[in-house]
Symmetry: D2
Subunit: 287 residues, 4 copies
Amino acid sequence: MAPSSPTAILLVACPDQRGIVAALAGFIAAHNGNIIALDQYVDAAESAFFARMEWELAGFGVPLDQFAAYFQPLAGPRRIAWRLHRSDQRLRMAVLVSKQVHCLYDILARGESGEWPADLALVVSNHPDHRGIVERHGLPFHHVPVPAGDKAQAEARQIALLKEAGVDFVVLARYMQILGPAFVQAFPMRILNIHHSFLPAFAGARPYQAAHDRGVKIVGATAHYVTEKLDEGPIIEQDVIRVSHRQGVDDLVRLGRDLEKIVLSRAIYWHVHHRILVYKNRTVVFS
Amino acid sequence: MAPSSPTAILLVACPDQRGIVAALAGFIAAHNGNIIALDQYVDAAESAFFARMEWELAGFGVPLDQFAAYFQPLAGPRRIAWRLHRSDQRLRMAVLVSKQVHCLYDILARGESGEWPADLALVVSNHPDHRGIVERHGLPFHHVPVPAGDKAQAEARQIALLKEAGVDFVVLARYMQILGPAFVQAFPMRILNIHHSFLPAFAGARPYQAAHDRGVKIVGATAHYVTEKLDEGPIIEQDVIRVSHRQGVDDLVRLGRDLEKIVLSRAIYWHVHHRILVYKNRTVVFS
Amino acid sequence: MAPSSPTAILLVACPDQRGIVAALAGFIAAHNGNIIALDQYVDAAESAFFARMEWELAGFGVPLDQFAAYFQPLAGPRRIAWRLHRSDQRLRMAVLVSKQVHCLYDILARGESGEWPADLALVVSNHPDHRGIVERHGLPFHHVPVPAGDKAQAEARQIALLKEAGVDFVVLARYMQILGPAFVQAFPMRILNIHHSFLPAFAGARPYQAAHDRGVKIVGATAHYVTEKLDEGPIIEQDVIRVSHRQGVDDLVRLGRDLEKIVLSRAIYWHVHHRILVYKNRTVVFS
Amino acid sequence: MAPSSPTAILLVACPDQRGIVAALAGFIAAHNGNIIALDQYVDAAESAFFARMEWELAGFGVPLDQFAAYFQPLAGPRRIAWRLHRSDQRLRMAVLVSKQVHCLYDILARGESGEWPADLALVVSNHPDHRGIVERHGLPFHHVPVPAGDKAQAEARQIALLKEAGVDFVVLARYMQILGPAFVQAFPMRILNIHHSFLPAFAGARPYQAAHDRGVKIVGATAHYVTEKLDEGPIIEQDVIRVSHRQGVDDLVRLGRDLEKIVLSRAIYWHVHHRILVYKNRTVVFS
């Protein structure tokens, strides 16, 4: 449940060690923070500890801009990697889209409904088709063609647009171009993609055709962070739907659209609520 | 993942309060306990705090038989209700069954495979049919008829059998008799039942017939603790399967059998691992 | 898969009888119709036969406006109830909506994408809030307040608007008013509602609150035809999502929104493709 | 629903053609057969027609041992490939198993419960471990070791055992040896395997480990017919279960066991009811 007053959110990862929860919870308590959520996970096989702590800012004794200085004596010796967020700091989101429009519609609707603590800053597309749909929401739309031979320049322009708009993270809403390394590195673990299959099955192009040819009885969709290896980034969320021989490729495409938009929206939800930690190409999602 | 060495498991429930996690984790750490799992949950609407902590017994500085004395100074002022378990203390389970045999088969197989840290102490049935199935597993089978007019005496005998066998909890594996208050009170929140519908839909008798008559597109099964109100105890687990007009009542019965045995077995798994807390007729399952 | 050329769609229901499939298929074949889909179902318990046949209009020897005359000699003696549709005749749809907007957004997007062989004729609401959302799609929006004491007059106005717009069927997209008998009778088995629970569990108001209070581990949504008995009409489609103690009522509401819009859209899909037969308050859905 | 009196079951596959349903249904009707189930499917992309017809033997005018002679005039010109079965002819099943025992337990229980119109003829294992479990059901158990260097001879012995027992089909119930071509060819499309992943993801060995390493959020199981290409035969059934970062490999193995046994049992159910057609390495399952 969303807290009614602003909170701080701390994500930590470190080697598993005796007393780590007591140390973390003790630190917040010692500074008069009221913890409203604490999720922790120990990966026994990796001897790794992960936690997400959320506490009310009201009454908390550490000014957040000096948090590092206060927290370092605890974090340093324990080799804690951490990130701090505020719930009242709305993220800025960019959407990249191609011709398929169902995820875009869904994101625009959720954005307008205030479903996420995030603002849709702009939409960028390699096709001009969806300008009207975006602009009638009062949002900027940029058509950036991606010519086959000159992707680098197009990406440079995309990155410039996103940086200019102060974008925190990027959503590929069925964007059918492969991102180059420069783009990926500009937003590390901050680009969410929806792939229209149950990865790692049917990576690459035309997954519904491939799924149909293989005769699977279930099709899926996968939301993941984009890394430099296509369709191999850490998986955030997946879901599936049962199909049968009766569904042709067109039916899989149609049924898959609903999966894709729902799965993508769940990943966005967790991302904007700072519920995802990445390690070893896997995600810990404190859902 | 099951720990390889013995652990202590502490379940706590108390009013939500500042510093509660720090206090609990600090207590274990102060006595040199290595926490391997900590799950906590705050019900904001009820201002209630729940946690399950599991730590290795090796090296823990408090003798478990004196745990209460050590823990009370912390628990008392905070109004903590708690239960302590040891992972190396196998629970003793009784199964009550009638004519439907699929859940019994499944429990016998899991028991024999060592899937649970629990021992099947005996099987009791109001019918003699399944004696052979039980006895070939080397387990005692008791036929206790439940005559329509004399349930109280039958239950007295059942309770005596269970007590004699040192039973910790009872599984109703499609036992088609309604338990009287005396039986329920003898094993409070320690009787697990499987109901063959998605409760609260189709409580009572013949749920598959009722589901078919209503024309539902999904049928379910529900595992719950038994209370004195039939089919109204706290729900532990539910699952469902999609059906269509093509499935007649017989098909629902057949498909439902698989649901029932799987759902029941998940509830047993969580029960024997001390992962369930009950409050306000709901369960917190730290799965 | 959608056929590329116009088809005729025949839905039939009759007592089960020897040779019925041969008679039906033989009739189409005798008139040179190329059957592209034939679904049939026998309800053995009711001795009832149902079928949906779809064949290409190109080359079919019976003018559709004289179909009854040709078909009657076959249908009459066999007591066949039947409906005939053309795939190239787009249905006209009305949407009724209150404050909740997610189903409306989804329907507008699907309509604009051409997902259905149907045209959204108008949107009617008892609140003025969503006028802008509707009108920017170039669609008419009518605000018809429904005062507590004077629902009959409001419904008369709604019915008049729908009739004037030539509406074939009505979608209640989280419309929070109970329809009176006059409205229901104006569109028999042509009003689709989405109820935000897994019916028959949690019929009536505030189902997510009720689901939370009961502590269910799965929540659902149900699309059904509206009859005069609230929440008791024939179920077209249901789907569910797993939840846990961690989800408060607000979370159930949020997660349920996605269920509701998907379940409703599936029901609309089958309705506009003439894939649904109703009998004995149940549906046969030839999906 | 299972018919109460014996039926004939006809499976047909042929090029799609005008009037094919009328011809088939007409043939049965002309010989006074009462059709109780007719499922048909047209693969428009392949222009292929498939059907399953089931009719009561009582009153049917064609002696089944002369069916071919009667049916050929219809089937020949239409290039119909067909198989005829009788519902009262129980199939004989063999089970091959290695160390994992959960599928074996499940099959033994279903067999003993009479869930299938099939008889378990024998169990063969490359390990001696499960002899007791099998023999207490009164069934023959054969231990056939499969030495690394001499699989051919072991398979020859297996085939001989199966042939001798008059086996109709073979179930690999977590049998961990790869079958050689001779074995596969001895039972074409009559060997069912359960693979512990959502194929084609994680084919090959140790799929749960691979699924964990990839960080998937859903794991699955796949029942398929065995062909000479490992894990690439036509898929009969798949199902999945949601997991999270919290599940280690051991947990996936545990949760997967339930998936495996249920998915395998569904495939067996359809196989013994003659509901599966194979074409182009895909299945049509008239479920």
